[in-house]
């Protein structure tokens, strides 16, 4: 077993965490902010802030779990790659998978429909649901791999990706400050209890 430092430097780990946290926070905040008026209309402003704060804290915790998963995934990438390149590749994977997850939610929630012919094809299998995922994976992995290859294969592409990662990391730091505020709100709520 090679020492971990051959795969990641300390700053790599931090970047990796920020990259995982970013899509989760963006998605959570879009919908949590959307719900503020909804909660406010039913209880009060403090509860509305409460729901938002819990959402941020949950997103932070989910980010940690996702980072751990992605971190482990990184060991599959050859040591021939530099650790920067490894993080860049993982970053690309995170983004593509996140976008896929967003599309799946949009697909389910907005009720986008699959053509009947496709459905009747999948129903032929013993596990239609599982088969759909397998087919999706079969279609998407070359796309993900191809994208990564194209981006990382050229110096310009690599530079663009690295720049993007830097910008996102900076933005994510702002979100982390919000997480901290949210954590304080959650702690206060749990100390005082919801006396009504």
């Amino acid at each position: 077993m090679k020492p971990i430092t051959k795969y990641y430097s300390r700053s790599n780990l931090w970047t990796l965490f920020l990259l995982c946290a970013f899509p989760l926070h963006v998605w959570a905040m879009i919908f949590a902010f959307r719900d503020i008026s909804w909660v406010y209309a039913r209880t009060d402003a403090w509860d509305a802030i409460g729901v938002l704060s819990y959402a941020m804290v949950f997103a932070f915790v989910e980010s940690i779990w996702l980072s751990i998963a992605v971190f482990i995934l990184g060991f599959l990438i050859s040591l021939k790659w530099s650790s920067e390149l490894r993080v860049a590749a993982l970053g690309a994977v995170i983004f593509l998978v996140s976008i896929l997850a967003m599309l799946v939610q949009l697909y389910i929630t907005l009720g986008w429909s699959i053509p009947d012919s496709v459905i009747s094809f999948f129903v032929l299998f013993a596990h239609p649901g599982r088969t759909v995922y397998l087919v999706l994976l079969a279609i998407l992995s070359p796309i993900i791999a191809g994208t990564i290859y194209l981006v990382l294969g050229t110096r310009k592409g690599t530079q663009i990706l690295k720049d993007a990662i830097d910008k996102i990391s900076l933005l994510m730091m702002v979100y982390l400050v919000l997480d901290l505020v949210a954590l304080v709100v959650v702690i206060i709520r749990n100390i005082q209890g919801s006396v009504k």
Partner: protein
């Protein structure tokens, strides 16, 4: 994106999460050493359980074979009325011994008025170890109001299968309500709205599905649930309660309110399909004015499934009874079996979300298992849910509180016959705690007659609707005799209107 998470959904979630919860007050237990003369009181409520569908009360299907046998050692009340046709007011009336327009928990998922927070069966038994549990979130909202008088309020999800809500509620004990709403928005995988979480919601729905899958074979229609949990088994609830009761130092007062046979009807496999092809015939009745006509074909099927679900209640109550008996608790216990309201499968409606007030919706079982009783006693007098509190206070040697509106039930009261009184059951879904009753469905039973009094509904163009039935000769309420007995109708209407006027005086 439109937010279509409705107020109802919000209440559904926030309602099951009482604002705070009390840890078992064990310190208090240790100090209590009861004299032998003090008996326990255990009230078992099965939600939405209509007397109409109970074979003990003459239903054509054998839905309660176990309870029929146990009844040989009980006082069986044949004409017992819930105080409402749905949970919040019906349960609050059992707990306070007062009618809905008095305790004021008339809207769904509310508590009683501040005046009655310290006037409940829990406050009456203040020298007992007072326990409560319910699968039903709306009942937990009532408990929340009474919580200063409850020593051990078992959290709802403790007797349900694992769900992530339980973890969240354990971590954020002091803020269960809002943390759980946030968790629902964050992690619950929904088909009609977004989750805040991109990945966790999918993972959770996968793992919680796995947990439930283990029981699929036992429950072909799905696990019993109130939708805001991950399913539960009545067996688990009974086992856990019995083992907890065994640990207690007596005396105790327990109010345990289980969800079955409330919808969704989920009978276990051994009863599933039992009543599907039997000879039972629905009695044809005209569609109620509050319902759209038609759609009658599904009623037969739903009734059969509901009846099968009652078999589950019957079996598990039987098990509870025997467990209490073999552990010796029963011989020192007044055990009460009843329901908070009924359920109907007729006149175009299924369930109890309806403004009607027919017998299947309000007549419920009541059995009292008295310590040491070895014979059956049948009581045909008309009785009310509000009588329970007075009766239990009386039989355990307590003063019946003057604020209780109920009577001591036969055979326990001193004089055997009371002057004939009227029994009220009502639904007034729109009436707020401190507002006069402006619309309601009121059932008023007196002697052999039952008056239906509906008023304030837009479907009636705000006119009154009055029906009168002779429920002794016409228990199915098929012929409205308001025109044949105008004098009786007039007198009963007068009485109802006088009562409403008296109640409303305070809130005008």
């Amino acid at each position: 994106m439109k937010n279509d998470f409705s107020r109802r959904d919000f209440l559904k979630i926030s309602g099951l999460l009482p604002f705070s919860f009390l840890a078992p007050n064990l310190a208090k237990n240790l100090g209590i050493r009861a004299p032998q003369t003090k008996k326990n009181v255990i009230i078992i409520v099965f939600d939405a359980w209509s007397a109409y569908n109970v074979s003990l009360y003459g239903y054509a299907r054998d839905t309660t074979p176990t309870i029929n046998k146990l009844a040989e050692r009980a006082v069986v009340y044949h004409n017992h009325y819930a105080a409402s046709n749905y949970t919040t007011p019906g349960t609050a009336s059992i707990l306070t011994g007062t009618l809905p327009w008095t305790h004021r928990a008339m809207q769904p998922n509310t508590t009683v008025s501040s005046e009655y927070l310290d006037r409940s069966i829990f406050s009456v038994f203040n020298d007992y170890h007072r326990m409560s549990y319910s699968h039903n979130e709306w009942v937990n909202t009532l408990f929340d109001g009474f919580r200063s008088n409850i020593d051990e309020w078992i959290p709802r999800l403790d007797l349900c299968l694992f769900s992530s809500y339980k973890v969240i509620q354990d971590i954020f004990k002091n803020d269960r309500d809002i943390s759980s709403v946030a968790w629902e928005r964050y992690a619950e995988f929904k088909k009609d709205d977004f989750s805040y979480s991109l990945f966790l919601s999918r993972l959770l729905s996968y793992f919680e599905g796995k947990e439930v899958e283990r029981y699929y074979d036992q429950f072909p229609r799905g696990l019993p649930t109130s939708y805001t949990d991950n399913g539960f088994l009545l067996e688990h609830a009974v086992d856990q309660l019995v083992s907890r009761l065994g640990e207690l130092t007596k005396p105790m007062l327990g109010y345990f309110h289980f969800l079955p046979p409330h919808e969704p009807y989920r009978p276990p496999v051994e009863f599933s399909g039992r009543f599907f092809r039997d000879a039972y015939q629905n009695i044809l009745k005209p569609a109620d004015i509050f319902m759209e006509p038609g759609g009658d074909f599904d009623i037969r099927k739903q009734r059969a499934i509901y009846d099968e679900y009652i078999l589950y209640v019957d079996r598990e109550f039987g098990r509870l009874y025997r467990e209490l008996e073999s552990s010796g608790i029963l011989e020192d216990t007044w055990l009460v079996l009843t329901s908070d309201h009924g359920e109907g499968f007729e006149r175009g409606y299924i369930g109890h979300q309806v403004n009607a007030i027919y017998e299947p919706l309000i007549r419920v079982p009541l059995m009292i298992f008295e310590p040491g009783r070895q014979s059956r006693l049948d009581v045909y007098e008309k009785t009310s849910a509000i009588d329970l509190l007075s009766t239990l206070a009386h039989v355990t040697g307590k003063d019946v509180p003057e604020w209780s509106e109920g009577e001591v039930l036969p055979p326990y009261r001193q004089q055997s016959e009371l002057p004939e009184r009227g029994i009220y059951s009502m639904r007034s879904y729109e009436t707020e705690k401190d507002s006069p009753v402006k619309s309601a469905s009121i059932g008023f039973v007196k002697g052999r007659y039952k008056l239906h009094y509906y008023f304030g509904y837009s479907i009636l163009n705000s006119q009154k609707l009055i029906k009168l039935y002779d429920i002794e000769s016409d228990p199915e309420e098929l012929s409205n005799i308001v025109d044949m007995e105008p004098e009786i109708a007039r007198q009963m209407v007068e009485q109802v209107e006088y009562s409403i006027e008296q109640v409303n005086k305070r809130y005008l």
